[in-house]
């Protein structure tokens, strides 16, 4: 790295601390840590919901929870894991590592980034607040019409779901615009599009999916809200409406959404495998274009979620073929990962374990996915535990294993401390075994006819054995996560001794101290390939000098701001006010929210984003 000579200048960038500095922060690294911490807590809540369901299903005719509570549990488990767990855990890595990977000081719009986080937090709290009112959403994470209409869901449950998703959608949209612009516009000199780290590429494609998929669910949720609160009949047959329209709108969003959940994990694994194989990524360009092709096809397959609605042979054939086609670019990715580790000098560290686990588990989930693409097979499998097995293999076996690989890989960079390797490997093996014990038997149960979303089953229906195994597997899985928590907590008590580049990484973040300084890069070295850190290491005869901490005097960083938080509260006020439409004068709350929103936007717009020049 070009030596920076700022070391002797007066230190002006001191680490700020205290609650207020976190509330007003616009630093992408701090926001990343906020995203990660919040999302992990929501992830644990979603996990507890899953464990209660597993305990309920452990034996036949069980009455640990009621049927009503079970409905809320599976609805909130799905909603939480997707919108409050996996998506924001990916957002943690987008926040922390996209600017570092492309050699930027921050994201394109630092305050908008803070706004995204606060809206996400408020949206997550809003949905979960429903538990306190005993009105947790209970119509499934897919909210099929007309179950969600007033007639069948009279309480506030579905309202919390509709409005909460609307709030979370705003957070996702703002973040997607921000990261899209950041990747397009803030790359270091020499960082051409086809030199970007694969994680940045997959993140870039994810942002495009978010931008194009979220408006559709926004519209669907608006229609549903209007049906529930303002008397329209968009999804009500008695007024001429068509409940299947909900399914179309939902899955036009919902299928791209599953790629939104998996592509960041693909990106992480594509970073980890080359570094721990000591080989460049095999077929870089093919990886980029297969990712883009997956995203493109992702908008043309939504109705494979709807074969059971009876769309007719032409639509069924079209969506079956387009779905099968997705196996091609996905297969390209899997073979390229295998090509990357083939003949490599494998470094058996925890991140590699999780990355390999992800590839193996995702293959299983991918194969059962191809089975669903055939309508006659799907008609047998739909609404059975076979489908539950499939999507947990891609979302847990794929996304969560990939994200965990990223957590072990980047923890030293984020916190300056190495996670314990022994505990890490124990975490991996227990999680792998627990995961397979929980979810593999669901294939058998599904094919044997056990339906999804039932709160119990009769004794003697041949479901007892595998259900018992699954619950023990789930407990093992939970224990492995506790090991991870223990690993993180005990590591955080140790001094920050991690070197800048513990893994001999290929990308720019390994050239700066761990954790990075507030301004990221004092100087950015020239980028001449997709592995700039390896270029420098090679030029240095296999060695990289340990970068020093510098004062960073003269580097202008964006000022902290409170207005993103205020604006986020306005968003909550406006959307949350719809909960009160049954009261007189409810719109006063909407107007108050709108006032806060406008006030926040105006103060934000007229606040100088950088400190005034001296």
């Amino acid at each position: 790295m070009a030596t920076s000579v700022l070391e002797h200048a007066p230190a002006i960038h001191q680490e700020k601390s205290g609650l207020w500095s976190w509330i007003t922060t616009v630093d992408h690294k701090r926001i990343g840590i906020l995203y990660g911490t919040t999302a992990f807590i929501f992830f644990l809540i979603g996990g507890i919901e899953a464990l209660i369901m597993r305990l309920q299903l452990m034996r036949p005719d069980n009455h640990l929870v009621s049927a009503e509570a079970f409905n809320s549990l599976f609805t909130m488990h799905g909603t939480t894991m997707i919108f409050l767990g996996v998506m924001p855990l990916s957002a943690m890595f987008f926040n922390y590592f996209i600017p570092l990977h492309i050699g930027a000081r921050d994201v394109a719009f630092p305050r908008l980034n803070a706004f995204s986080y606060w809206v996400f937090l408020l949206g997550g709290l809003f949905i979960n607040f429903s538990f306190l009112l005993n009105a947790a959403p209970n119509a499934g994470w897919f909210g099929y019409a007309n179950l969600t209409e007033r007639t069948y869901s009279p309480g506030l449950n579905t309202d919390f779901w509709v409005l909460g998703l609307q709030i979370l959608g705003i957070a996702s949209m703002a973040a997607a615009i921000n990261f899209f612009v950041t990747i397009v516009n803030l790359r270091a000199p020499g960082m051409k599009m086809l030199r970007m780290p694969m994680f940045v590429w997959m993140s870039f494609i994810t942002q495009i999916l978010l931008l194009l998929a979220f408006p559709v669910i926004t519209v669907a949720l608006v229609f549903l809200m209007m049906d529930r609160h303002f008397g329209s009949h968009f999804f009500l047959p008695e007024g001429g409406g068509d409940p299947v329209l909900w399914q179309h709108l939902f899955w036009i969003f919902g299928h791209p959404e599953v790629y939104i959940l998996i592509l960041p994990a693909f990106g992480i694994v594509s970073e980890v495998l080359p570094v721990f194989s000591r080989k460049p990524l095999f077929g870089y360009t093919a990886m980029v274009f297969s990712g883009a092709f997956i995203a493109f096809l992702g908008f043309g397959v939504w109705s494979h979620h709807m074969f059971a609605t009876g769309m007719g042979p032409i639509a069924d054939s079209f969506f079956a073929i387009s779905t099968m086609l997705i196996a091609v670019p996905t297969g390209v990715k899997i073979f390229n990962w295998l090509g990357t580790i083939w003949g490599g000098s494998l470094q058996f560290k925890t991140p590699l374990y999780f990355a390999l686990g992800m590839v193996a588990m995702f293959i299983i989930g991918g194969l059962s996915g191809v089975m669903h693409s055939s309508p006659p097979a799907d008609l047998q499998q739909t609404d059975s535990y076979f489908v539950v097995a499939h999507f947990h293999y891609v979302l847990f076996g794929g996304s969560i294993f990939g994200l965990t690989a990223g957590a072990y890989y980047w923890f030293p960079k984020m916190f300056g401390r190495m996670l314990n390797e022994t505990i890490g490997k124990a975490h991996f093996w227990l999680m792998l075994i627990g995961f397979n014990l929980t979810f593999f038997p669901m294939h058998f149960l599904g094919l044997n006819g056990m339906p999804r979303r039932v709160y119990t089953y009769a004794a003697g229906s041949n479901f007892e054995f595998w259900n018992r195994i699954e619950t023990w597997g789930a407990l093992l899985l939970a224990f492995s996560l506790l090991l991870f928590v223990y690993n993180v907590v005990s590591t955080m008590r140790k001094p920050k001794t991690a070197p800048a580049d513990p893994w001999k990484g290929a990308t720019l973040e390994w050239l700066i101290p761990s954790p990075p300084q507030e301004f990221n890069f004092a100087d950015v070295p020239p980028v001449n390939s997709s592995t700039p850190a390896w270029d420098l290491r090679r030029a240095g005869g296999g060695q990289l000098p340990e970068p020093k901490r510098v004062s960073g005097a003269g580097i202008h960083l964006p000022s902290p701001s409170i207005w993103p938080v205020v604006t986020a509260c306005g968003v909550l006020g406006v959307i949350g006010s719809i909960l009160f439409t049954h009261m007189k004068g409810w719109f006063v709350i909407t107007l108050c929210g709108a006032a806060v929103l406008l006030f926040g936007i105006y103060r934000w717009a007229f606040e100088p984003p950088f400190p005034e020049e001296h």
Binding site: S4, V5, L6, A9, P99, G103, A104, R105, D106, V107, A108, F109, P110, L112, A176, I177, N178, F180, V181, V184, N185, L186, A188, P189, M191, L211, L212, A213, F214, P215, V216, V219, A220, F223, M226, F230, G231, S232, H233, F234, G239, G240, G241, D242, L245, L249, F521, A522, D523, V524, G552, A553, G554, I555, H556, P558, A605, P608, P609, F610
Partner: protein, 224 residues
């Protein structure tokens, strides 16, 4: 390379701030402009979903009123024949005004870029007035429909019509608020040529809102 300013002068220097658009970006296009184009791309899907729903439900209403044909309506508690509800001449005029406002804002932007303040203020003012006229026309149209017995939940046509045109109208309203703010700034002399990007971005948004109406107008008002 021996002092602190080095980090700033480096080509990758301070480019990250949204307000620092004068600094070079990778594409050479200011970040805020890319952001607005990104928003437009996303909004296309938003309006496409609303327009598709309108089309899917066209002709599926169980009772009147209907846009282009006579139908049976529930009025004063009994079914009776009612006229087609849409008033094409009024909306055609509003459409024309909205389209002209796109022309006005181009002239305002030209004035801003050339530092011709009178031109900037005059044409920006004209844009705001045109936008207000369009919103006023829509308020009048909605009220008129209410009086003729078509509320939000009367039938599928009314729900999908009010949702589609209502969301477009709220986009116009947001644009009017944005442009009015810029008008105040222009009057105070705070939009010099160096800051004309502030207006250019608002103008991009305004053109987009117009373009969406170019799709909505034939689909809703002209197509039978």
């Amino acid at each position: 390379m021996s002092h602190a300013s080095h980090a700033m002068d480096a080509p990758h220097g301070v480019r990250e701030g949204s307000m620092h658009d004068m600094h070079p970006t990778t594409t050479g296009i200011p970040s805020r402009k890319v952001a607005l184009w990104t928003l437009i791309g996303s909004e296309c899907l938003f309006f496409a979903s609303l327009i598709s729903t309108y089309l899917v439900y066209k002709g599926k209403s169980l009772v009147g009123p209907l846009p282009h044909t006579e139908s049976q309506c529930m009025l004063h508690g009994q079914m009776q024949a009612c006229e087609p509800i849409i008033e094409i001449p009024l909306v055609t005029f509003g459409t024309a005004v909205l389209l002209f406002s796109s022309f006005f804002i181009v002239l305002a932007l030209y004035g801003a870029q050339k530092g011709r303040r009178g031109m900037l203020i005059g044409w920006l003012g004209a844009t705001v007035v045109a936008g207000l006229f369009f919103v006023g026309m829509q308020v009048y149209e909605f009220t008129h429909f209410f009086h003729k017995g078509m509320g939000y939940s009367t039938n599928l046509f009314s729900s999908s019509f009010f949702t589609l045109t209502g969301f477009h109208g709220s986009h116009v309203t947001a644009g009017v608020i944005w442009l009015s703010t810029l008008l105040v700034l222009a009057i105070r002399g705070k939009i010099p040529p160096g800051k004309s990007l502030n207006l250019e971005i608002a103008a991009l948004y305004w053109h987009f809102v117009d373009v969406v109406w170019i799709v909505i107008f034939p689909v809703v008002y002209l197509m039978r």
